[in-house]
Symmetry: C2
């Protein structure tokens, strides 16, 4: 698909701030457990990581929501934790509990022992292959999104060894070992840049950075330990539009305005008016219906979706304010997508 | 202790917006695992709930941080989950995991079966007795804080059956069963009012409402399902100053400005300038050092504390932005408290 054809896609036109008749819609975690065909596919892989590492399977999971829901973009099925693994910090995915790292980062020597940059990114050939297979199968129907975790979020997993209620181990590290924290963040950043360049070479049309634990940091720390690395990554990959989704980082929107990305993702706490006043007029906003709204009846979902469309106005890519929850009724998801697809800006 | 004597206490003068030479300081979860004497006392009670229900033990835990750290207020040692239990929904405290409710609220009949108001609050005599014993032992040294969970947070526990990563069961209930949600919130509110009146009668000098899961709701839902109940509770108890700590509810500060409380608690994400611009000039602000700062060395803690004091200015009660973490070094806690106690407004 040439650049020219690509930019005719609604999703990429919206991402580049070109005129569109309606906002595009996709859903974080659309490739996943909400779809029966995903659950059937997943049943063949008792091990989640084996699934992620099988390009044909990852590609099939990526295509399913495009076929089933008619979303305006595909997002490659993978996990943000492939980066720590590629750097030498292995993890297990514990069913219904989440990731667990048998070994965590504690000392300077642990950080020194990590690989970084191209040598680590080269271990992620299975993701590039999944992107190539998917790109071919999509045959230009919709653009393909690549992604990675943001450096602060990856550091948090590396220090905590999994999810956490407070992330106090990772957060305390920024106070007690600020120099080591910066060294580790730079190694993660170098790896992420090489990885995302590989994704673009393999066919990703847009890249999203997920800063899932952004909301855990005080504003001054987010400015110091997160924003500069997001900016480095975005600046290093001028070839495609970039989205930064920093969940809970309402307090950092002025800082994110300076990051050379085109799109800012919003969680369901942050109103578009609040965000727009802080990120300026150039950025496109992505989001942000509460994923719990999709448990309601169809007319409630439709009203909530239309209200969201009204408050965002133009320069909007529709999504939920967080990944869709695995037990969301498929009918609710369809109502959400179809309400957006039936909407036209000139009707308001 | 007469009203006249009470208002001579630094903490109550600050709470009532009267002139003070420095801000008072206390710490959420100060009565707890950071103190070796608490851990020794706790060792006598394998069952957490038996501990909470023994007034002499709860009182001793309440007094320990006053003696050991020299904080400017005591807060009664108890748990916000005594309310669901008193309403007929029992819970267990699972060591190092948190609370678990064997039975949760699912249907209208479950809500109808709950007791509410005075009949439920009367079951909390053990808390009132702990307050009376503590008040006597304090002998006017520092004021005594009573507390309860905010109705939305209590509803969340009643529906989830414990903590949760997403609180999606509780949140979806607001979309799918809004009328039942309001009925349940009103029953919790009625019980909380009777309970807090009982706490004041037993000697509480100030009351704090903890809305721990406030940040999980979209702004419109927080306005609908949380704020009116906070307002009801505060309006029903004019006798003492009230603090509302709605963690993560930065988006609701304009709404909280209308709640008849004197003090608004801030988490570590929210700067005092942001909050002050939204709550107006009357409220006192409480908070908000990142609890993780207390893991740092003493000079880092001192600098961070002084920076916080500078940014808040007057109308400030010092605290952390969240409960102190159980493994925080006692020396860090002392440095925090002593830095505040050595500070004088006229020195800046």
């Amino acid at each position: 698909m040439s650049i020219e054809t690509q930019t005719q896609h609604l999703f990429l036109r919206a991402a580049l701030n070109l005129p569109v008749e309606r906002p595009p819609v996709w859903i974080m975690r659309q490739a996943g457990r909400i779809l029966p065909q995903y659950r059937a596919l997943r049943a063949h892989f008792p091990d989640f990581k084996a699934f992620v590492k099988t390009p044909e399977a990852a590609s099939e999971a990526t295509l399913q929501p495009v076929d089933e829901l008619g979303v305006d973009a595909a997002i490659i099925f993978s996990d943000i934790l492939v980066i720590p693994e590629a750097m030498g910090l292995d993890y297990e995915m514990v069913e219904s509990k989440g990731p667990r790292f048998p070994k965590v980062i504690e000392h300077a020597a642990d950080i020194a022992a990590l690989d970084a940059g191209q040598i680590a990114a080269d271990r992620l050939e299975y993701v590039y292959e999944a992107l190539r297979v998917t790109k071919k199968a999509l045959d230009g129907r919709v653009p393909l999104i690549g992604f990675a975790g943001a450096p602060w979020t990856i550091l948090a997993y590396m220090l905590e060894g999994g999810g956490s209620k407070t992330f106090s181990k990772a957060r305390r590290f920024l106070y007690t070992e600020p120099v080591l924290a910066h060294i580790l963040l730079q190694k993660i950043t170098d790896t992420t840049i090489a990885y995302l360049k590989g994704q673009v070479a393999a066919g990703a049309d847009l890249l999203q950075l997920f800063d899932s634990w952004a909301g855990e940091l005080p504003p001054a720390q987010y400015r110091m330990f997160a924003v500069p690395y997001l900016a480095q990554i975005c600046a290093a990959i001028p070839e495609v539009p970039k989205t930064v989704f920093a969940k809970g980082a309402w307090f950092a929107l002025e800082d994110l305005a300076e990051v050379p990305c085109q799109i800012i993702g919003l969680d369901w706490n942050t109103t578009p008016a609040f965000a727009r006043a802080r990120v300026g007029s150039d950025k496109v906003l992505q989001g942000n219906l509460d994923p719990c709204a999709l448990y309601a009846d169809n007319s409630t979902i439709e009203l909530a979706t239309l209200e969201m469309l009204r408050t965002f106005g133009r320069q909007h890519i529709v999504n939920l304010g967080h990944g869709v929850y695995p037990d969301t009724p498929l009918e609710g998801v369809r109502t959400f997508v179809n309400t957006v697809k039936a909407f036209r800006y000139d009707s308001i």
